[in-house]
Each structure stands twice: as structure tokens, then as C-alpha cells.
């Protein structure tokens, strides 16, 4: 069974952490992943940096720009991850934008991910219809989950459609925003969390955007299966470097 599905069955709220590969230093990737697992993180999103990250706010943009300047690229990330499954057992997901994957070759990219032990992909700008028409079979062939986003503006009809096509979890964007734009949740978000919880979707939901500490983690996971922290972790790395990753995780739970 896919590691993500197994993890989703555990009787706990899941903490997922996003970081940008190649940031702060080019060769930090494996070290960060190992520390995150040892600190008790349940799942990791490895960001493949892109020059024009449309869905991201300034923090992740900046980390992506620096990672690219440091020399990160697709083949290098794959090379860094070649022995990752010798030391890491939690689910690993690559999050990026579609163009670098398209240039690498979608099938070649998926095959490589599968060989390395990557469990899923999040490509926010690969639309649902294009995925279904052209790439779903390839993802399936290599046993990769494709994780879709939903937002407070996504219609119920479309959420149902996304639920049907999803095969692990749904990435629930907490508010209409780019990453790192807002912190904390108001009544609007709580309503939205309830609405989604009451839809009885087949895939569990993991909340992202706006989670930065224990309070927001607990709010986000009151009804959802887990939560993802990205920008807050990148900010922490910028300030503290990679030596004390576990301190950040301990503050969340």
C-alpha cells in the first residue's frame, strides 16, 4: 500500500511540513528531511523550486529564487534523493509547478519519482481536466498520488469531482490567498471547515495556508485529518538555519 494511505489510516492528526529543496543551502535537502522525520513529522512536501511560483507568497518565492541561485534543478534533486528511502520511511511528496515537470518529461519524471520512493505529487497549475485526459494513467502506472487543491471558492460540484479523481487526500486551502499571506483563522474559515467536513468526502482533507503554530494547527485539524506548514517553516529556517529543525516541530505539537 502507498505510504500516504497507510499514514492517513493512523489514528492521529497529521503534521505535514513543506520546504524548498536547495534552501537555505543547496545540499540541505536530505538533512532537513531526516530531521523532520526524527522530530515526529508525519509527511513531507519537498518543494521543487520554480522561477515563477504563481500560487506562492513572498516567503516561498524568495526561498525558490535562492534555491535556484544556489543551483537547484530537477535532476540534482533526484540525485540528492537517490538513497532517501534507506533512512526515511514517512510519505514524501514533491510539490512544484508543471513546467519543470513538463520539460523533464512527465512519464520520465513519474518513473524517477517512483524509483526514488516518492509517494505523490502536488502540481497546483496542472489542471484537473488535463491530468485526467493526459496524465492520470501515467501517475497510476507509477503508483503516484496526485493531490488536488480546493479553496473556499471551489463549488460543491467541483469538490465532488476532485474527490472522485483523488486517491489519497485533498489539499484544502484555508482561505483565498497565496501561501504565507494570512495567519490565523476567523469565523469564515471555521464555517468552511465545517462545510467540508459535512460533505463526507471519500478522501480525508489536509489543511494548508495560514498555519504557523500550535494554535492554528489545532484549529485547522479540529475537523480535518491534518495540516501543512510551509511559509512559517521557511521563515524559521531563514532565521535559525537547519541545526534546530526539531525545535520548530516541537512548538507545533
Amino acid at each position: 500500500m502507498n505510504r500516504i494511505l497507510k499514514k492517513l489510516q493512523e489514528d492521529k492528526k497529521l503534521l505535514s511540513i513543506y520546504f524548498t529543496a536547495g534552501y537555505p543551502e543547496l545540499t540541505d535537502t536530505v538533512n532537513i528531511i531526516q530531521q523532520l522525520e526524527q522530530s515526529g513529522v508525519d509527511m513531507i512536501e519537498i518543494g521543487l523550486p520554480f522561477s515563477d511560483p504563481l500560487a506562492d507568497g513572498p516567503t516561498i518565492q524568495e526561498s525558490s529564487t535562492i534555491a535556484l541561485k544556489n543551483g537547484m534543478h530537477t535532476e540534482l534533486l533526484f540525485d540528492q534523493l537517490k538513497d532517501i528511502r534507506k533512512s526515511v520511511t514517512i510519505p514524501l511528496i514533491i510539490m512544484g509547478y508543471f513546467n519543470p515537470m513538463l520539460q523533464y518529461g512527465v512519464e520520465k519524471f513519474c518513473k524517477k519519482c517512483s524509483e526514488l520512493g516518492i509517494d505523490g505529487l502536488i502540481m497546483p497549475d496542472l489542471p484537473l481536466d488535463v491530468y485526467q485526459e493526459k496524465y492520470q494513467d501515467i501517475y497510476k502506472k507509477y503508483n503516484l498520488s496526485n493531490v488536488f487543491l480546493i479553496t473556499p471558492q471551489t463549488s460543491e460540484e467541483r469538490i465532488r469531482e476532485i474527490d472522485t479523481v483523488s486517491d489519497s487526500f485533498i489539499y484544502m486551502v484555508s482561505s483565498a490567498s497565496t501561501t504565507g499571506a494570512k495567519s490565523g483563522f476567523g469565523s469564515e474559515q471555521k464555517q468552511y471547515f465545517e462545510l467540508i467536513a459535512n460533505m463526507n468526502l471519500k478522501n480525508p482533507q489536509i489543511v494548508g495556508f495560514g498555519i504557523s503554530n500550535a494554535a492554528t494547527f489545532n484549529q485547522a485539524t479540529a475537523l480535518a485529518k491534518g495540516a501543512i506548514i510551509g511559509s512559517a517553516f521557511i521563515k524559521y529556517l531563514s532565521k535559525n538555519g537547519i541545526a534546530t529543525v526539531s525545535d520548530f516541530v516541537k512548538r507545533i505539537r
Binding site: L54, E75, N99, L102, Q103, Q153, A176
Partner: protein, 393 residues
């Protein structure tokens, strides 16, 4: 072979809507309603009334006698430079502000490079009394000060794009991010024939008034409504799309596109997308795109800020790939020389963007009886500093 968009939003292999889910409701709403709204009689009436009384259309089709003599062919100039705000850009912003009103939006965002689209957007927002936010690269803000001042006078907020290379590409990213953060009340007026479907088609349709008028005017002057060639410069390609539109299916009309070669196609400082680009995804559409082998979008260069874009509209990518259009490129030096030449021969100072189109006559030999219509996309007032510095005037 169709050169128009299909029902899924593609021109051959190019186009589509490669957007994050956060943008889906907005783009989908537009996709579902844009044709219905545009095709309503009342909409068309208001659109054309404004084009006539406010923009000053139809723009003249001018027979350039001395330029024709010099190149021994028959050259007509479609005078988009005489439009209100000085370029073709306003055709689209008039259309889109009316569209935004029909969609019930009360906040407008736009991206701009040289500032022409920003000014055209700020203008129609002032006209309609709607809030306007224009994203502009920090570097462009510094080098296009008069247009920044115009936008401010017109009541727009000009927000510097501080990410990436701080030019047009990054201004577009910032505008898209604004739209993600403001999904309910905001309409994004894209200025070129780029972006997710239906933008390339919508912008092209609003700009197609250019080729529609060419047909009528040419019939009056020459007794035929189709020229042998239409020529336009291409960055994202909105003026070219409008110039070609009514001739796309008439294969007797040759379509010529001139891109910006910057300091030379292979100099590393160029914006000649058809020569240097590969199929990729930028700003929500699949098209030809200048990028690294790894799929990172690269920085284009051109002396003309309006052509300084790493992609090209998906319709043009298709015209290139199918061979329907001939693509040429002109260097900075060729475009500047052609701009100066038009000034001396015809008393018209063109925008440097248009200078690229005018450079075609040094690249391609036309027959004496060929009828060539060239889109004079904008006037050169905004480029005076560049002309002054370049020619030590």
C-alpha cells in the same frame, strides 16, 4: 486547418488554462460567459460607441507614399498610434472594462511593462469610476516614469513588483497573485493575447476591430478588402492578433510577425520567442516560451519594453508552428533605425515596438504591386528618452 480557438481553449497544441485551483472559479466564470456577454447587441453597441467617440476610431488607414517609394511596394499604415492613449491597447481595455461591469466586478487589476497597458487600463477605470491597481516591475517603474505619472493622475495605484527580475513577467505574476487573494470582487484585465483561456481569445476579439476596419478601408481605397500581406510586431501579440484576425482563414493574405531580437537572436539578450522558445507553460497557458533546459523561465531582453516578454500568445505559437505566419525578428538597432526612417519619410514618430514591424522592409523584399498593411501599433512619445539617448539627439 483552424487558426481559431477550439471549444476547449486550444489553438492546435497551444493554449488551455493551466491555473492553480484558486483561480478556477474566476476563469471558469469568464469562460462560461464571455462570448454571451460580448455578442449581445447592447454590449456591442456600447463598445463601438466608446471606440468611436472616446478612442477616436476608426483609426485611419494611411497610404505611406514615400515609404512605399523607398521600398518599391505599396505600404499602408494602420494608424493605431492615433488612438486615445497612443496605442492599440485601449481597444482591449474598453472591451474588458465593459465585461467587468457585466460580471459585477468593482475592482480592476492589471499588469504593465512599458506602462501603455497600465495607462489604457487606468484610463478606462477613470472613465467608469472603478478602482484600479496596476502592477509594474520595479525596474520598469524607474525607466517609464512619465507613464507611472499618467497612471497616478488617472487615479490608479501603481504597485511595484519586487520579485524575480522586477519586469513585465513579474508584474504579471503579482497581478495573478492579487487575483488569487481577491477572488470575489476583482477582474483582471490582461493586456496581451496571453494567459489562461479565454483571455487570448477575448483579447483577440476586442482587438479584431483593427483588421475589421482594414477590410472596409482597403475596399474603399483599393477596391479589394484583402491585402497581400499584413505585418505586425509581436511581444505577447495583442496588436498582431487584432491585425491578423479577419485574415486568418484567407490564405491569400500573407501573415508576417516581427519579434524583438534584442542585441541579436543568439546574443543571450533577445526576446525572439519563436526562435528561442520551446513549448512550455507560462501565466496559465501552454505556448512557446523562453526557458532553461530545466523549465525555468528565462529573462528576455529588448530595447522596447512592450516586446520584452519571454512567451508569445498561444494563437501565434500555433500560427508559427503550422507555418501560417512567417516569423522574422529585428534587432534593437534595426528597429531604432526603422523608427527614425519612418519619422523622416512620413513625419510619424512610431513606438519602438512598431519600429520592429517597420524593420521588415530590410528583411523581406516585396513585389512592386504587393499591397502591404502594417500595423502602426503605437506612437513614440513614450520612447523619446530612448530615441534621444540612442541617437544622441
Amino acid at each position: 486547418m483552424s487558426y481559431h480557438v477550439n471549444e476547449k481553449g486550444y489553438y492546435g497544441a497551444f493554449g488551455g488554462a493551466y491555473i492553480p485551483e484558486m483561480l478556477y472559479p474566476n476563469v471558469e466564470e469568464l469562460r462560461r460567459s464571455y462570448l454571451n456577454i460580448m455578442q449581445k447587441d447592447a454590449f456591442q453597441k456600447e463598445f463601438h460607441q466608446l471606440l468611436k467617440d472616446y478612442v477616436g476610431r476608426p483609426s485611419p488607414l494611411y497610404f505611406a507614399k514615400r515609404l512605399s517609394e523607398k521600398y518599391n511596394t505599396k505600404i499602408y499604415l494602420k494608424r493605431e498610434d492615433l488612438n486615445h492613449t497612443g496605442a492599440h491597447k485601449v481597444n482591449n481595455t474598453i472591451g474588458q472594462i465593459l465585461m467587468a461591469k457585466k460580471l459585477g466586478k468593482n475592482r480592476i487589476i492589471a499588469e504593465t511593462g512599458a506602462g501603455q497597458h497600465g495607462v489604457a487600463t487606468a484610463t478606462v477605470c477613470a472613465l467608469m469610476g472603478i478602482e484600479c491597481i496596476v502592477y509594474m516591475g520595479e525596474i520598469d517603474i524607474a525607466r517609464q516614469a512619465p507613464n507611472v505619472a499618467r497612471m497616478k493622475m488617472l487615479g490608479a495605484s501603481v504597485v511595484p513588483a519586487l520579485s524575480g527580475s522586477r519586469t513585465l513577467k513579474d508584474a504579471t505574476n503579482e497581478a495573478i497573485r492579487d487575483w488569487i487573494n481577491n477572488p470575489i470582487d476583482t477582474h483582471y484585465i490582461i493586456g496581451s493575447a496571453i494567459g489562461p483561456h479565454p483571455y487570448p481569445d477575448m483579447v483577440t476579439r476586442f482587438q479584431s476591430v483593427i483588421s475589421k476596419e482594414i477590410k472596409t478601408q482597403l475596399l474603399e481605397k483599393e477596391g479589394r478588402d484583402n491585402p497581400d500581406y499584413v505585418v505586425a510586431c509581436i511581444g505577447g501579440g495583442s496588436n498582431a492578433a487584432g491585425t491578423y484576425y479577419h485574415f486568418l482563414d484567407d490564405e491569400s493574405v500573407g501573415i508576417i510577425a516581427v519579434e524583438a531580437a534584442g542585441k541579436g537572436i543568439h546574443s543571450g539578450e533577445s526576446a525572439a520567442t519563436s526562435a528561442l522558445g520551446k513549448e512550455g507553460v507560462i501565466h496559465g497557458c501552454k505556448t512557446l516560451l523562453m526557458q532553461t533546459q530545466d523549465g525555468q523561465i528565462t529573462e528576455p531582453y529588448s530595447i522596447s519594453a512592450g516586446l520584452d516578454y519571454p512567451g508569445v500568445g498561444p494563437m501565434h505559437a500555433h500560427l508559427y508552428q503550422t507555418g501560417r505566419a512567417e516569423f522574422y525578428s529585428a534587432t534593437d538597432q534595426e528597429a531604432m533605425a526603422a523608427g527614425l526612417e519612418l519619422t523622416k519619410l512620413e513625419g510619424i514618430i512610431p513606438a519602438i515596438e512598431t519600429g520592429h514591424a517597420l524593420a521588415i522592409f530590410e528583411h523581406k523584399k516585396f513585389n512592386p504591386d504587393d499591397l502591404v498593411v502594417l500595423s502602426l501599433s503605437g506612437r513614440g512619445d513614450k520612447d523619446l528618452d530612448t530615441y534621444i539617448n540612442y541617437f544622441n539627439l
